[in-house]
């Protein structure tokens, strides 16, 4: 259709359905659900609940999903036409059977298939990458969604005590300053606007209904939460403001909307779906993100893919199904080991040395090294794993000048809080979490 549009008319990003997305991030779930459908003849929410295997996210063992996740999963499978509805149950379609076969043959093609579906249905993946490049073209698309500076550790507060105060304003300001000092232009919102928007959002969140305490027993008294954590609320407020600013239909620097919108509020993603798209697009190797860069308060996201017309195919692979309205194609950064070996090993060692010098411990967090290597080289987590595994093997064979030691042990600080949900580095299918590097003498 858009081929016939006259030159000069703004071209929108296309999508078939709507922007809504299931609130789950594990891309293997589609396969698992389809396999159950094949096995049992059909699926429904109840069957998925009973049969989907428990799994591990990061280092955390997830026993069951919320019912909502199964409903979402079925809705998406249906929308992708992998299953169809007959009365209250769902049956495999031809395309569903095909996807099962694809998965068994090549995981990469399975992911490409899903990426294609998501892109044409929701319109998000290609657009998301493009938006990152729009926000910070000079910084190679790296963007930060802020959260309060790490040194701020307030206690809990009475629920009613929801006034904005000077401390919160200072934290918001300092967060903005730190991000832009360390990675200029990665969060290009005006600082005054930022503080006032965060204030508004924080106060709005404070006016919500008081949450209830989860009952352990049916007979327990119905109680309202007495306290709340200011850090949690401020984090949430910052995320809402930042996502709205960065990923709204019309970006501040653009003249028009990216998508045809019916309503003014029809933004492609909100802070909730943002949390879903980051890990999904990471699985598809289109971007990399981490909440754990020591110097950055917030989530740093950068693309490992770029739109262009023609790219050197030794270092890039074409994502066949995604194109921008400008007709530019999407290319994944997928360098080959032979050409990239030296650069990778040099960067790996450099990043290790920086952390080692800072901490003085020989074994340092592998995830921390990965974050920085991927950021400097703009490679995906999967490429990092493949390269590290190769480097490790070559180190054993003394084909490179460094001795690399990997450990599966988990240090105390890697076990606490959200760290446990952090993606581990899989080498030979084993999650590793510590690394030491030394030059052979």
């Amino acid at each position: 259709m858009h081929n016939e549009e006259p030159f000069g008319v703004h071209q929108y990003w296309k999508f078939k359905n709507n922007h809504s997305v299931g609130l789950f991030t594990d891309m293997n779930l589609y396969y698992d659900a389809l396999a159950i459908a094949k096995n049992k003849g059909f699926i429904n929410v109840y069957i998925l609940e009973k049969n989907l295997l428990e799994r591990v996210i990061g280092l955390k063992y997830i026993e069951t999903f919320k019912k909502r996740a199964f409903q979402d999963l079925i809705r998406e499978l249906n929308r992708f036409k992998l299953i169809y509805k007959d009365e209250n149950d769902f049956y495999l379609t031809e395309s569903g059977i095909k996807l099962l076969k694809i998965y068994e043959k090549s995981k990469e093609k399975y992911f490409d298939f899903l990426l294609d579906k998501m892109n044409s249905e929701n319109g998000i993946p290609g657009w998301f990458i493009n938006r990152l490049w729009t926000i910070n073209p000079g910084g190679q698309g790296q963007v930060v969604v802020p959260s309060p500076i790490k040194s701020w550790k307030p206690g809990k507060q009475k629920w009613q005590d929801n006034q904005w105060n000077k401390e919160l304003a200072i934290v918001s300001e300092e967060t903005h300053i730190q991000i832009n000092r360390r990675l200029p232009n990665s969060f290009p919102m005006n600082i005054e606007t930022w503080i006032s928007e965060v204030k508004k959002e924080y106060e709005r969140l404070g006016k919500r209904k008081q949450r209830r305490v989860a009952k352990k027993d049916k007979e327990d008294e119905d109680k309202k939460m007495e306290f709340f954590a200011p850090r949690g609320r401020l984090t949430f407020a910052m995320k809402n403001v930042a996502v709205k600013f960065l990923f709204s239909n019309k970006y501040i620097a653009n003249e028009t909307n990216d998508f045809i919108a019916n309503k003014k509020s029809d933004d492609p993603i909100n802070s909730r779906t943002f949390m879903v798209w980051c890990p999904r697009l990471e699985t598809f190797e289109l971007l990399y993100y981490s909440d754990y860069f020591e110097e950055i308060p917030g989530r740093l996201i950068f693309p490992c893919s770029v739109f262009g017309t023609n790219k050197d195919l030794a270092n890039f692979s074409l994502v066949h199904t995604i194109a921008a309205p400008s007709k530019e194609l999407l290319f994944r950064h997928k360098p080959k080991w032979v050409q990239y070996k030296e650069e990778f090993i040099e960067t790996l060692n450099e990043c290790y040395q920086i952390i080692y010098n800072k901490e003085g411990i020989i074994y340092v967090s592998l995830q921390q090294v990965r974050d920085e290597v991927c950021r400097l080289l703009r490679i995906s987590a999967l490429t990092f794993e493949i390269f590290l595994e190769t480097a490790f093997r070559e180190s054993v064979q003394r084909k490179i000048e460094f001795s690399i030691a990997l450990e599966t042990d988990i240090r105390e600080d890697q076990r606490s809080g959200f760290q446990i949900q952090r993606r581990p580095v899989f080498i030979n299918n084993v999650p590793n979490s510590l690394i030491a590097i030394k030059q052979f003498i």
Partner: protein, 451 residues
Amino acid sequence: MSTLFRKPVPIEEKKNKYDTLEFKHNPFPVDPAVKPYSKDERENGSIYMTDLREEEIQQFNDIVLNSDSKINLLMDYAAYRGRGIGKTAFLNYLRKEINKDLGDTFTKGQQVLYAIYVNPGGEKKERKFSHLSRIIYQSIMNDKLLLITFCRLRANSGLIPNEILQGVTYDNLSETLGNDSWLIQNNIDLQKVDHQVETILNEHGVTFFKSVEPNLFEHSFINFKKVFSVENTELYWKNYGVDFVFSELVRLFKAADFSNIILLFDEAEKIIISQNFGERREFCDNLRYYFIDGSNENATSHFYKLIMTIHPNSQELLLTHWNAAGLDRFSVLGGEGANANTIFFRPLKDKKLAVLLAKEYLTRARTNISNVSDELFPFEEEALEKAIEICDGIPGKFLKLLYNAIEQSLSENWDKITANRIENIWKKIIEADPKPTTAKSEMLQTKTNLK
């Protein structure tokens, strides 16, 4: 002679490179850590300047000796500055000072005390309270305490005349009161004495020896020690060991008229860090049971006084369990209330004190004391002041820096060690040591350009 049977050259005969400075050896310790049983006075803690720690000694008096608090803490005041600040040296000083006259000077003759230094190994095996009891027991057995107890029991029998007791000193106990033939030589009726001791023990409820050995004192102190040597098996300690230490031994020491035994428990974090959640809770519960309100001799008579050195980070680990066990009502771990039971250890503030400390080390190493015109030679006073300043007031680091300075002054033939030189040495140490680098204002630039 065959090289096979060659003997090593004694250290004294080797050429002493410190001769040029008129030192016996490098005046400062190569590893600035206290090794309580080492023979080298640079490392065994015998060079100790009480002036440096007057404040802490006063706190010890107030908190431990002159109060009823049973569990006390010794903590670094500044977080994570722990190593080398002098806690072990301080405990070691307390141990020596208390034990030399059984607390006579410390308590102005009021109490009879003995201090035991307890230090868990680093193997992370010791995680339970029974393990701690075993370490306490082993420290008691390795110390002189049992011999002193035995001799005090004999002396308290009332059957040995004062004139004879006058000849007994701290150092000759095993040859005098602990030695049967010495008593016989002095015309003492050994049997009567031993019988009286047995009566005293009975009166105090010490029952342990009865089950083990009917003729308790047949073979003198060696036998006595053997009686109180218990099995060293995990099973014994799990089932009986804790009670043995916290009831039986307490009764024994009380029979010998000790007012209190002070347990100087160093490096408590070694135990705490290796514990899991459940073990920490259990550990705190046991601390309360055995030190404060359980049904055992120690808790009822408030006999052992515990001082735990603890690092701020292990304090965090322990805090919830500590409070859950209700220990916070008796001994506060952290926060405002901690002052009542915590000796805070601060870095040295006064530079002059550090200079005095260095002078003491220098003097002890000099070959010819009378001939010295400058007591700080080869250091200049400003150099020593500079040194303590750049070491953040931590004596351990300070001594190590001075050690390095002496070595370097010899290899480079310096006539004086100046403040400038100290600074240069420090810079070299820092360069060799990985140190936190201050965060750059901007992160490293991306290497790959995808566009």
